[in-house]
Each structure stands twice: as C-alpha cells, then as structure tokens.
Symmetry: C2
Subunit: 330 residues, 2 copies
Amino acid sequence: MSADFTRGPVADLFSSYLVAVSLSAAAELGILEALKEQGSYSFETAEADGLDRGVVRQLLVTLSWAEVVEVADDKAVTGPLFESAYAARGYFYWMVRGCGELFSVVPEVARTEDRTGDFYTRDMRAVAVGSRLIGDTEVEPHFVELLAELDYEVIADLGCGSGQRLMGAAGRRPGVRGVGVDIAPAAVELARASVAEAGMADRVSIVTGDVRNLEPRPEFADVDLITCVFLGHDFWPKATCVAGLRKLRTAFPNARRLLLCDVVRSETLPGPDTRIFTLGFELVHALMGVYLPTREEWHQAFRESGWVCADERHFAAPPRGILFDLRPEG
Amino acid sequence: MSADFTRGPVADLFSSYLVAVSLSAAAELGILEALKEQGSYSFETAEADGLDRGVVRQLLVTLSWAEVVEVADDKAVTGPLFESAYAARGYFYWMVRGCGELFSVVPEVARTEDRTGDFYTRDMRAVAVGSRLIGDTEVEPHFVELLAELDYEVIADLGCGSGQRLMGAAGRRPGVRGVGVDIAPAAVELARASVAEAGMADRVSIVTGDVRNLEPRPEFADVDLITCVFLGHDFWPKATCVAGLRKLRTAFPNARRLLLCDVVRSETLPGPDTRIFTLGFELVHALMGVYLPTREEWHQAFRESGWVCADERHFAAPPRGILFDLRPEG
C-alpha cells in the first residue's frame, strides 16, 4: 500500500498543530519575550528558569519547522517568521491554552444529548490573557484615540473584566467618572481591587450585572458614553439581543453613544484568504452553542432596538472585528 | 500598526490546528467513514445520529478550508485532499484525542519542579485506537506476510495490548501456541476475554508483566519467536534497555528470533521534508520525559545485550518506523 499521505499537505497540517501548541507554550513560558528582546534563547537560560531542557528544546525544534526560530546546539535564534508569529501570539494562546482542552474532547461535546449543564471547560484566565493581547494590536489603541476626541463625563464599560480599559478612559481625563459592569464575581473583585490600588475609587465604581438584562441604577444615571468590547455576541440570539439593547436605553437614560466592538461571523465559506482567528472563533462558539451574528444581523438588531449606527470601523486585527458607533434613536 | 500577520503562513498555522482538531473529531464521530463510503455526508444524517448540527457543520467548514471536503447548503462532499486525510486519520486521532489535553497544558508540564508523580494525562483508549490505525497501513500487513514465511511453534508478543496481533499469528497457523505479555491490567483482561471468545484459550495465554524486566516462567519456556511492536522505546534509557534485552534471552531460552518494531528518533532538525507524526511523537515523549533512541543507539544496545541484528526494514508509515530482525548471539 502506498503511503503518499505521510508527506505533503496533510503531513503539514499535522506538524502545524504542533507549531500552534509550541507557540502558545513559548508565549506563556517567556520564551517568545526573550527571543523578541535578545534575538536568541539558550537552553541554559531555560534550565536556570526552572524549565525542563528537553521540553524546551523540543518546543523550539517544532517552531523551527515553521521557521519561527532556528535551532543550534545550545540555543534558538529568531527565524524569518518570528515577527509575524510574535505579533499573533495572543491568538495561539487563546486557542491552545484557553480552548485546547475543549478542542481535545470535541466528539463528546458534539453529541446532542450531552450538551446540557456545564458540558465544556475553558481556561478563562488564558482566554482573557489571549483576548487582551488580541485587542492590544488595533482595538485598544483605537479606543484610546477615539475617546480622546469625544466629549463625555461619565463612561460605562459593559463586560469590564479587569477594569483596565475603564480606568484608562477615566484616568486620561481629569474629572471623568466611570462605572464598570461584569457578570463574573472574580472580575468584579479584581477590577475593584485595581481601582482602589490606583486611587480611583472616588470616581470609578464596579458593579455586578448581566449586561443583557440591565435595570436603571444610580451609578448609571449620568452615564453619557457606553463601551462594550468583545462581548456583544453574548447578547444573542436575536430576540434576546434586541431586548437587551433596548434595556440599555432605559438603564442608561443619558447615554448619547454606545461604542460596541465585536467579531462578526463570516458570511462565506473559508478559503485561501481566510485570516487568523476566524475558524477558531467560529468553531469554539459552535462547540459552546453560542450564536454568532453576522454584520448584517447586528444592523437588523440595532434597527429593531432603537439604536442608530452612525459609523462603523473594520479592524484587521482581530479579523472581522467591527466597531459599531451607535446613537440612541430620536 | 500593521496587521500583516493576520494572513499568510502564520494565519495558516492557526487554521491548520483547527483542521487537525476537526479531522480527529470527524474520525471518531463516523463522519470520515460515511464520507469514505458514500462520498457525501448530510447534516440531516448528523442530526439523526444524535449529533449537534451546528457543531458538525462547523467541523466540516473547517475541513473545507484544507480542501478535505467541500461544503454545500445541507451536506459535505469529499474534496481533493480527502483520501490523504482519511489515510492519515489515525495520526490525527492519536495526536488530538489521545494527547490533546497534554498539549493544552504544556507550560505546566515544562516546569522542572512539577515533573514528578502523575504529572500528565493522556487518553490511552484514543492513543491505542490511533496507534492501531497507524500500524494497519504497513506494519501489521508486513507482520502477517513475514510470519507466514517463518517457522515457529510458540510465539510471544511483548506489550500485546488487546491481543489481536497474537491471536492472528496463532490463529493463522494450526498447532501454534502463543503467550501475550502486558503491564496494563485492563489490557490483560481485555486480551484474555478476546482469547476466550475466539475459543483459543487452550493455546493462547496472557500474562501480566513488565517486558523490561522479565523472568523465566513456564509459559515462556518453549517460545521460539518474540514480537514487540511500538513499545521498544519504553526499554530506554540505554542501561535499562541493555539489561532488559539481556533478560529476554534468559526469560525466553529457546527464542531464535526477536522482531522488534519501533519508531526511532530523528537525527536531524525538521524541515520541508518532515513527514507526518515525527514532530508529535517527539514532542509528546519530551513532555512525558521518555527517552527516544535513534536507530544507531538501538544498534549499540543490541550489540551490548547479545542480540545480532540480521536485517532491518524501514516503513514509510509510520515514518521512521523500523523493524529490527534480531537473533540471539552465539
């Protein structure tokens, strides 16, 4: 029997999986940072840092297959693909460390009768770290620029996580107040501690809440600007989204602007132009049973919920990332 | 900031990881078999088989990126790469389902101080299923051919697993007896049940034992042929291997031949010619801390332990798979 399949495109798919694994691990272990800063990373350094020399060497050998590094006797140096791989490390970390366990048990998650209760696990710390790296390329810098141009006195961040975006927005402009909303107790606790540590407790508050179902509260009364980043698809499916977006209008009666940034579902099948992230983002949400709206579906939801989309900006990173610039109707 | 990295080789590495995940899942869920038999697989079939339609569709969409399938409205059909991917399914299943959880926690396993006790988990059922598929391409058919040409009356299979190879070797030739050795209680139990079910209990026995450290026993006394497939690296490191191979000579005093088949470590860095399996096999063993000998290291061990290598055969599948044909010295 012929064994042609052992080399060529299918073999490369196999090896590429291991490169993704190695990139994610090298990011967490500080190996990519060392390569970025010094251009090389020695196996001695790995041992001194408490890492197993054999494991580290094999991770780098794997990366050398993809020309991310070149491996010599006692060290690795950056290769032709290093800069691109380094720039993309957040995507790999999100995928492998954040979602890798889920990806390894797909057959279990695929069975309809087993899709109830807590039927999957992700490493949410790694998902958060990966998402932050993903946002740092274009989205967060754009928010900083955009907010610098806007007039606002009280800003609300929906799904505030660690509170960094909110504290930045309040911190860069004297007198501005902020309120963060998150559903996760751990995030609320972390954000509150960060706010206190930064000495901003007098003007930034953090509240627990489900952004899909917010009621008016005193902290929301004067909010004139709302931001919501990488969270919007949690509003869906459609009926829930329309209801949730409507409730934002009553919960924040003085909001003049809602900056909603999210990654939208592709409308065509993948092909040679498919960019990073898309297949992973869409497979993970299919596995979790979370609906992902397309750009057009978002626009329908805005129309039906009383928000006018005045502008939109498309990001290259993350691919299919869009910032919808929304104003309350009427 | 430029986001060039979002398309091109690094983006393809990201997407390829997801193709590997989808191939492994499609193998377990019967989707690859259906495509192989019928050339197409409908989402209706998936639902009828108790699978989530959204998950199955997204798995196939992911495979379509690599041209393994083509996706239409309600089904997928085989694509240009289907035959190669199907032939290679055992490698992907071994990697993703068998070792995927370990690959998702590499940073934990890399820390020297945490590499004690049961520091990693693999799905050994999936590893076994994947390994069997891997062996079925060339290795097992070759064993069938080779054994048909050999004279033997009692055969021992070291690391017999489910006992299939042993039962085949005994079953194809009237009067031949067999003994299987495995260290795993579950394998011993399974093999014994299979032997009983096949009505071969009068001539095939299964014993529990560590093949690296075997003592003579009555079942071994008349063994004239020993086989050992995909297990040899467990004999290593070198000193243990030499001692273990020596003990085989006393444990099996009448053995005239030892057919040892294993995958050997590469002696060069990976490159464009790297075939399937190699990077995964070597990374997994580095993570587990299991030494992998090169071909030359095997030959040194044979010389030092009193075995003469009369012949060797190199397989294309698995790549770097070698069958060493050994005779006791003197």
